[in-house]
């Protein structure tokens, strides 16, 4: 409805995050530490590190933003502030877009830092451009955010919201092709993976990381990421009810 409400919401979410320096530190540093860990787990196997490193930088923001958003949204619901906002003349999309801008900003910082550590300090070498990896990472963060927002409506406590991470995210990680190429999985699993958004997120990252042709399939991946993000945001807006039982 209004850009002012959207900007105010983004600013408010970022201010709240700033009030919690430990969470900010965890958000920014943990992915960089994990990439460092990965580098030394595959010590002397530069090729494996190069193959996995790029996609991992791009997938971390998906995971963290999924979790952070579902918890933040749950707090907003249980703390009564959502009800207050719903009794005010504010559009639901203003709120959701504000959230999106705030978390995309955090994701950009997270992916930028992780990429800097990986490319500059750890000698990660991807075939494609590091900037493309970071850009896809931000896109994946917004995807994770919109899915987190949508599933938060099904959680009535923070315990449940935390459990949604292994429920919704782990199967997608296992099936997306990161660990085992999808055509080597049981046929049924490959078919299931076709329907999971992270499969497309990984495929795009893998194309950039391997330095091959991004091609039509790469752009299809991007279209799926954007489409699913919009779909989840739309469903999220539907679950933001003005009236509740």
């Amino acid at each position: 409805m209004t850009a002012a409400a959207t900007a105010a919401t983004a600013l408010r979410v970022l201010t709240q995050l700033r009030r919690d320096p430990r969470t900010v530190a965890l958000l920014l540093l943990v992915p960089a530490l994990l990439v460092t860990l990965l580098r030394f787990v595959f010590d002397g196997q530069q090729e494996t590190f190069d193959r996995l490193g790029g996609p991992l930088i791009g997938l971390f923001p998906f995971i963290t933003m999924f979790l952070v958003t579902s918890i933040t949204m749950l707090r907003e619901r249980t703390g009564g502030t959502l009800e207050r906002l719903m009794s005010m003349p504010v559009g639901k999309l203003d709120l959701l877009t504000g959230y999106g801008i705030a978390f995309a900003t955090v994701a950009a910082a997270q992916a930028g830092l992780t990429a800097a550590v990986a490319f500059l300090l750890l000698g990660l070498d991807v075939g494609g451009s590091p900037a493309a990896v970071v850009t896809l990472a931000i896109g994946n963060a917004v995807l994770g955010m919109s899915l987190g927002l949508f599933v938060s409506v099904f959680a009535s406590s923070e315990f449940q919201a935390v459990q949604f991470m292994p429920t919704f995210v782990f199967p997608q990680l296992l099936l997306c092709g990161l660990f085992v190429a999808r055509d080597q999985m049981a046929g049924a699993l490959e078919a299931i993976s076709d329907a999971l958004p992270l499969t497309y997120a990984f495929d795009a990252l893998d194309r950039v990381a391997s330095g091959g042709d991004f091609g039509g399939r790469g752009w299809l991946d991007v279209a799926v990421i954007v489409g699913v993000t919009l779909l989840a945001l739309g469903l999220g807006a539907l679950t933001l009810r003005r009236r509740t039982p």
Partner: protein
């Protein structure tokens, strides 16, 4: 005299169920403009549900709720109604000023009103501490300030004075009367009967039904009790024998 030309809130045949249980059983009443109407009754009698229906965040089964002549919850009404929930609905990790600044922007209220409103609820000296570190009464005032930001025509307050010390309660009631004098309609719930005497008009509620719709003076007259708590008990007694 208590029948205004046009009621600020008009409720007709309101029925609400929550979790399969009927909470409000067909309520009919009006709330006069520019006055303080008290909604009194024991906890669990449906006061909060009724207030939620008036601000338009409650799913209702049947009946009509109009605020300022428009359906409750419509965009026109949302811009003119302030709502203070029982538990302070503000961001605990932000300061009072940050909370107000955010809600002012959402409401499209001028930035200067943030400072004015903080003064009004006497929080100016604590405005920059995280709300989480404030006392219960101070938190309640942050929540009230948020509702005052948009200079609403109708203010719906759910137990605004619970847990506040007597001095603060006195101050808040003075604020409420000041608002009413400027034409604001206040709808205030309480389960503390001695607050009934501070209202212009009373709605007494029990088990999702209205027991009485009268002025404090009429309540005293009808029951022959001066003490509001005794008066309410007397009313329930009569209800019991007549049923």
């Amino acid at each position: 005299m208590m029948q205004p030309l046009e009621a600020a809130v008009a409720v007709v045949g309101l029925e609400v169920s929550r979790g399969g249980r009927r909470v409000l059983h067909g309520l009919d009443f009006g709330v006069a403009r520019g006055r303080i109407t008290g909604l009194l009754g024991p906890s669990g009698c449906g006061k909060t549900t009724l207030m939620r229906a008036i601000v338009g965040v409650q799913i209702v089964q049947s009946g009509d709720v109009r605020v300022l002549g428009e359906p409750a919850g419509s965009p026109f009404v949302r811009a003119r109604v302030g709502y203070v929930t029982q538990a302070p609905a503000v961001y605990q990790d932000l300061s009072a000023r940050e909370n107000l600044r955010y809600f002012a922007r959402v409401l499209g209220a001028p930035a200067a009103r943030v400072g004015e409103t903080l003064e009004k609820v006497q929080l100016a000296d604590r405005a920059d501490r995280p709300v989480r570190n404030l006392s219960g009464g101070q938190r309640a005032r942050v929540s009230l300030a948020t509702a005052l930001l948009g200079e609403p025509d109708v203010l719906v307050l759910d137990e605004p004075t619970v847990g506040l010390d007597p001095v603060l309660r006195e101050n808040l009631w003075r604020t409420f009367h000041g608002l009413a004098e400027r034409g604001v309609t206040l709808f205030v719930s309480s389960h503390v009967m001695d607050e009934a005497g501070r209202c212009d008009h009373l709605l007494l509620m029990r088990d999702g039904r209205l027991l009485a719709d009268l002025t404090p003076a009429e309540l005293r007259e009808r029951t022959g009790e001066d003490d509001m708590e005794q008066a309410f008990l007397r009313l329930i007694e009569r209800e019991g024998t007549s049923a």
